[in-house]
Amino acid sequence: MRITSVKELDELKKTGRESLHPGKIRISVGSSTCGIANGALDVAERLIEGAEREGMDVVVEDSGCFGLCQMEPLVDVWVPGRPRVVYGNITEDRVDELLAAVKEGRVIEDWALFRMDGEHHILTDERVAYDVSQGNGEYKDVPPMEDVGFFKGQLRIATRNCGYIKPVSLQEYVARGGLYTLHKVLTTMKPEQVIETVLASGLRGRGGGGFPTGRKWKIAHEAPGTVKHIVCNASEGDPGAYMDRSVLEGDPYSVLEGMIIGAYAIGNVADAYIYVGSDYPRVRRFLLESVATLRSYGVLGSDILGTGLGFDIHVVQGAGAFVCGEETALIFYIEGKRGTPRPRPPYPAVSGLWGKPTIINNVETWANVPAILSRGADWFSSIGSAGSKGTKVFSLVGNIKNTGLIEVPMGTPLWDLVFRMGGGITRWREFKGVQTGGPSGGCLPAKLLNIPVDFDRLSEAGSMMGSGSMIVMDEHTCMVDMAKYFLSFTKEESCGKCTPCREGLPHMLEILERISRGEGEEGDLELLEDLGTFVKENSLCGLGQTAPNPLLTTLHYYREDYESHIKYKKCPGSVCKRMVSAPCHHTCPVGMDAPNYIAHIALGKFDKALEVIYQATPFPGILSRICPHPCEFRCTTGNVADPISIRALKRFVLEKHGRDYSPPKGAGNLERVAVVGAGPAGLSCAWDLARLGYKVTVFEAADTAGGMLYSGIPAYRLPRELIAREVEQVRRMGVDIKTGVKIGKDVPFDDLRRDYKALFIATGAHVGIPLNLPGEDAEGVQDAIDFLREVNVDGRKTVGKRVGIIGGTNTALDAARTARRLGAERVTVFYNRTHFEIPADELEVQAGLDEGIDVVYLCAPAKIIAEKGHLKGLELRRVEMRGVDPTGWREPVVLEGTEFTVELDNLFTAVNQKPDLGFLPDGFNVTAKGALEADPGTMMTDTPGVFAGGDVVAGPYFATDAMGHGKLAAKYMDRYLRGGDMTPEYTLTKPTAHVEPYEMTAEEVETIVDRAETPLQPVAERIKNFESVELVLREGDAINEAKRCLRCDWRWEHEAEEEESR
């Protein structure tokens, strides 16, 4: 059948609608490459078999991709009279159950992702409502497509048919409005009008460059010549970009229709070509089939649609070189030559394929063309931002919950893409950056999350739209490593024609590799910048001109990552193998070689494990309870599953097999040294110094040693007797701890200077910072840290019935949970941002919620309501998150007129604390935040011989960091006292010992999968007492958990061996 008029199109449309809605159950299986990779073909086969077996009258078809690649295989079930339901993760073993449900007219809510009650045809703006007359209440729990976070805010123009139709079915394509536009254009519009429309629409090339499509067409249209060509560039070589593939696999006709319209507009087109890499065999097959179909319907070949227009489309198979995506290289490739770029001008629109004027557009650009001509330029230009019109398809990949394809209007904030559609980062980690535009683009940090994503804004930020890949990275990403990865890609893909790209990139990579091995030198970054800008400015084609972007943007936005590698030999993302050993070891503030003891636990050698633990710290028990375990956030196992429960393993081995431990002491009474403050920093320092043989005296103002461990942390998290036991261990090392002695009051500071050769100040940060709210001095209003001290130290036993806490820190949660245990009935935490931002440990928040504490997000206190000096309540206002502030935090904006009041008996503020430095004489430098200044490399203050560490230096931080400070200070105090060099030195993290890995049996590999979560005391019990909430792992669980460790330190050793043998 040849199509020559609207009548025949209508007929085709009718058959298409019948095929889409066959009057019986239609099941479509998402069979794009993403689906197939997840077993979609087997699922489809199983569905057909199953339906036959069950005697069901079912049509099973394949379809394109809705974009939710994470949930593939997607199965789209369409029962006449009911809403259309899309199920996710339908693997082969779920097919039978699904079929049974379909047969019974049930819906499996747990598997259903969303439902559709109708569909919207973009081309015609037609809304087709499905017959849902029989759709009963069972569908109410399945959210409509528009309400699913992933789809909310999407507008699918280029991907308008993907997932809805069978990809190579022309009928179904026409049923959704296809080909009508082509007919309209060919019969009623002049080529100039078509070009005008595309110009007016503001469509810009989606391949990355963003050149106005209409302008390109106009140049080619006006170029002299009786032979012209058009090309569709379907080369997609970016790591992480697959939108073109998805469009061609889901809806090839939209691209072909766009090309025919383009050919008509440009005029004199003899041939059109589609370049597809050989890595897309399915795309190639679909294209060949679709082109043949169009020919048979008279939509291609001679006399297209009976209008006399004649040309053909050829599918050219590429070899997959990345550079062939560059248009001049692509032209050479089609001509049969080596695919290397040539200088422009002349631009292909003037002299392209075989020297003829040639239009090259990207798949997505072509797919947009029919929509623009169907709905008009005004409609299209009403979507998007000022300089970038329409929508853009992005592939969201990387460390993100929902990987997949989304199409959003230009100008959508980056935050929406990452957090709304992408669902954010896994719970273990924080967002670090997003690489836009693949290896040609740049890496944008959190502070740029609010930029609207369009051509111009991305360029301004130093990145680019590129093909539209968005690689989201969490904090376990090293920017040096990232730049290294992309550079090694572009280096490999460089064609080698021009000097800067060919020679410059490998040298840049070499320098980066050196930096990541910990051999970076001063001047490397300047050299990198110099080379990078040089390559960018001087390369011949787009590949070289953009290849330094990942490096240059990360150097710009994450310079501290690079500096940290070079200067401190630390990889902030714990990725660079040669300097990290294992990430857990690398990140540990006290330098605990975790993989070492985990390995011993896995082998059942608990004594050895204990030895390793005690090597690092005198407070393993305390750490095993309250350490914020940065190690677990970086754990390599966490890349593929949940991280190892490192802290819980430590606690297991200490509590089940622990014993008192005193390491050997160093030689004799070297000198007298004083430590001020018996908190974690001070005691750590004292212990290390005592081990070295110094005679150490610790002065503590409180009556009990322990500092903030004792006063700030509730007993249900850290038992008092545990603190006492480990402090006792410090005493056993020969440290003299004098409690109840306040420096500056009981002992003058100058006496200390006189009597001791060196001092370590670790007095912590115990002074709460007020909120500066009216009424803050009312009775019942208190700083949370004071409240905790009263409970923990002074034995306070009472609190009001209604307790409010302002702030989202761990201290806030501690105060809330303590109040709950003291009998408060209604405890509410008020936090001004959302659960994304709350600084408290997620598990702490969850535990609080379990215990019946309310957490109210997005509210800010306005004033404290007091009556006669007594607290009555708190007035708050609602807050909305808008944009991102310069530090990368989303900015809370207080909404006027949204005041609401809560009645309270007690209000605790937990915003921040600062040190009390009143005891110090003048002459010490203090930071703007009120902390004492000390060299972070040696912990020495500006006054020689006086060292400082812990919260007094860092502001309120974690106990583990404080202990790290103490250890570091001890090392340099020793060096100071021996008259050594005080230049800080930094070393690479290397395994401290060699432990054979445990080899899992095949059965264990299958069964030991999940993280062993620490058992908790039942909620009903625990809110009545201050007993430990977290319990100890069972031995079997602990050993299994240790076996899960991937032993990434082993790879370090292995590589070291390899390097030596080389």
Binding site: A321, V323, R338, R342, P343, P345, K491, E492, E493, S494, C495, G496, K497, C498, T499, P500, R502, E503, G504, L505, P506, H507, E510, D530, L531, F534, E537, N538, S539, L540
Partner: protein, 589 residues
């Protein structure tokens, strides 16, 4: 015309001119590595980078491909440009630190050759900077497509496809000649370098002066060596190369000019086709083409020429200066196996060679001769002078040349001493005979003259008519008549010219009154007469199937008359009857 500014100078150039060309016209130096006037701009090395535009819009771009447009503002040497060039040179120096051109440019632009570390061994040996000139000339000009850049990125290297011996390579040497660093070289399949400018006895160029003395002194395109003709003759490519046409500013080269047949009406013809030199490779014992450093006199001439490939130095194939040279006389002449005659010139040119060797080197020279024929004016004195210069003369024909170690050994009988001599030398020069051209037979037939037994053209009379031939109006001059030296050839040429002029001066020619005529009725068409006629005066009329005599050419010698079996050929004024009557009258019968 397009007006633009380069470094503040206004310049007007033709439309389509590149910025590089415009700058060079202003004598502004822009360095290039990958640019050639005869290839498409490549923009690969990026060294010709300039800055276009001012202020924020200024952009670095390569000038070799940039077509000048109106109002363009170009800066060729500000700090940005110099910084870019310096970095390019630093990168290239890291890749190929031994390349002299890079070292020079590097010094000029202050590039630090060790900015990217100490070069490793591989880099030190590498000379290729991937400028692509060799592959492009092979593809764009030679159209052989024999070599290309393989692999990509930094691993790129130039080679034939699959690194195999390329069947497409025509060993033209374009690649090695265009290579700016000496990286591209052509080897044969036995790893022998084919193009070796250090020692080659013939010019490599297809466009060349055979000798500097040739008249008119213009170069010639040799089709056998020319890429254009070779490629089209082999059917590989049409319109290959043509670089000479483009390079010639005067449009003097036209490769499309073809052979054509020209018909000229002339009254006289002077044949001066010369001789050829005997090919000594047919005497295996002498080792020519078999042993190194055995060369002919002609090849020695090429070598000793001041404008020759060695610049006049006498060198062995490996570039050494020889310490002993043998000159073997009478190679092919005075030899029963080849030519029995004396070639006349060999003794004297051998003496000249000996003199040249002595002049240029300290080598010992051994002449192996049968006897010394110094026949001309001053020749004997030259011989005497050489004797006093210490040249060795060994009377005896060289029997064999063998290889001994690196050198050669000449074996000969010394007829004066009556012993065999074995003389070690480094080089053997064969004084080859002069012989008739192999195509002399063809020419003989065209102009209708005779040949002697040695193949040289036969003069009418060795003493009385040395330049005339038996055919009226055809004269011979020079060595086509027999071996002779230059003075003799010149004299003969002058004589032939005088003879021809004398004919032209007469304005008309007298023909013989007595000629043969063939009676058509009696002629049986046996063609005996045609074979017999020494003047090619008889031809065959195909239609009538009878022989016909051209009375202008016929000298009335009567050979045909005597030979005609059917008595059809008769002598005018000398019929049998007349002869018998004359005889009768004389004898009073």
């Amino acid at each position: 015309m397009v007006k633009l500014t380069i470094d503040g100078q206004n310049v007007e150039v033709e439309e389509g001119t590149t910025v590089l060309a415009a700058a060079r016209a202003l004598e502004i130096d822009i360095p290039t590595l990958c640019y050639s006037d005869f290839l498409e701009p490549y923009s690969g090395c990026r060294l010709c980078t300039v800055k276009v535009g001012r202020g924020d819009d200024a952009k670095l771009t390569t000038s070799c491909n940039l077509v000048a447009t109106d109002g363009m503002d170009v800066v060729t040497g500000d700090s940005d440009v110099l910084r870019a060039r310096k970095l390019i040179l630093e990168l290239l120096l890291a890749k190929a630190p031994s390349v002299e051109r890079l070292q020079e440019l590097g010094a000029e632009y202050g590039a630090d050759p060790k900015r990217f570390g100490e070069p490793d061994e591989e880099a030190l040996e590498n000379r290729c900077i991937l400028c692509g000139l060799c592959t492009r000339i092979c593809q764009e000009r030679v159209k052989a497509f024999a070599i290309a850049v393989n692999e990509r990125g930094q691993r790129s290297y130039v080679s034939a496809p699959y690194d195999a011996l390329s069947p497409d390579c025509i060993a033209c040497g374009s690649c090695s000649s265009i290579c700016p660093t000496g990286s591209a070289k052509v080897y044969d399949r036995y790893d022998r370098k084919v193009i070796h400018p250090e020692l080659s006895l013939a010019s490599n160029s297809a466009v060349r002066f055979v000798t500097k003395q040739m008249v008119p002194n213009v170069p010639t395109v040799y089709e056998d060596d020319c890429i254009h003709f070779r490629q089209s003759a082999s059917g590989n490519a049409v319109d290959a190369c043509r670089i000479c046409e483009e390079a010639c500013g005067k449009e003097a080269v036209n490769l499309d000019s073809a052979d054509e047949e020209v018909q000229l009406d002339v009254g006289t013809i002077i044949v001066a086709t010369g001789m050829q030199v005997f090919d000594p490779s047919v005497i295996p014992a002498l080792g020519y083409r078999r042993l190194p450093n055995v060369i002919t006199g002609m090849e020695f001439e090429f070598m000793a020429r001041a404008d020759g490939v060695t610049g006049g130095h006498i060198e062995l194939e490996d570039g050494r200066t020889p310490e002993a040279i043998a000159i073997v006389h009478c190679v092919g002449s005075r030899d029963e196996r080849f030519h029995t005659y004396c070639s006349r010139v060999c003794c004297m040119y051998s003496l000249k060679f000996a003199h040249l060797v002595k002049e240029h080197t300290d080598a010992e020279v051994y002449n192996f001769y049968i006897d010394m024929r110094a026949f001309g004016k001053g020749y004997e004195e030259f011989y005497k002078r050489l004797l006093s210069e210490g040249v060795h003369f060994i009377r005896g024909k060289a029997a064999e040349v063998t290889q001994v170690g690196d050198g050669l050994m000449v074996i000969a009988e010394d007829t004066l001493l009556g012993t065999n001599r074995e003389v070690p030398v480094d080089m053997v020069i064969l004084s080859t005979a002069l012989e008739a051209r192999t195509d002399a037979e063809e020419i003989r037939h065209v102009v209708g003259i005779g040949c002697g037994s040695q193949g040289f053209f036969q003069e009418m009379h060795p003493k009385l008519a040395p330049v005339a031939t038996t055919t009226d109006g055809v004269f011979i001059a020079g060595a086509c008549q027999g071996p002779k030296d230059i003075p003799d050839s010149v004299a003969q040429g002058a004589a032939a010219a005088a003879e021809a002029l004398s004919l032209i001066g007469q304005g008309q020619v007298a023909i013989e009154p007595i000629t043969a005529v063939i009676d058509e009725d009696l002629c049986s068409g046996c063609k005996y007469c045609i074979q017999n006629c020494p003047y090619t005066a008889i031809s065959f009329d195909v239609e009538k199937k009878v022989s016909v005599v051209n009375s202008v050419l016929c000298k009335g010698c009567g050979t045909c008359v005597a030979g005609c079996p059917s008595g059809a050929s008769r002598q005018r004024h000398y019929s049998d009857t007349q002869i018998y009557a004359e005889l009768g009258g004389m004898l009073n019968l």
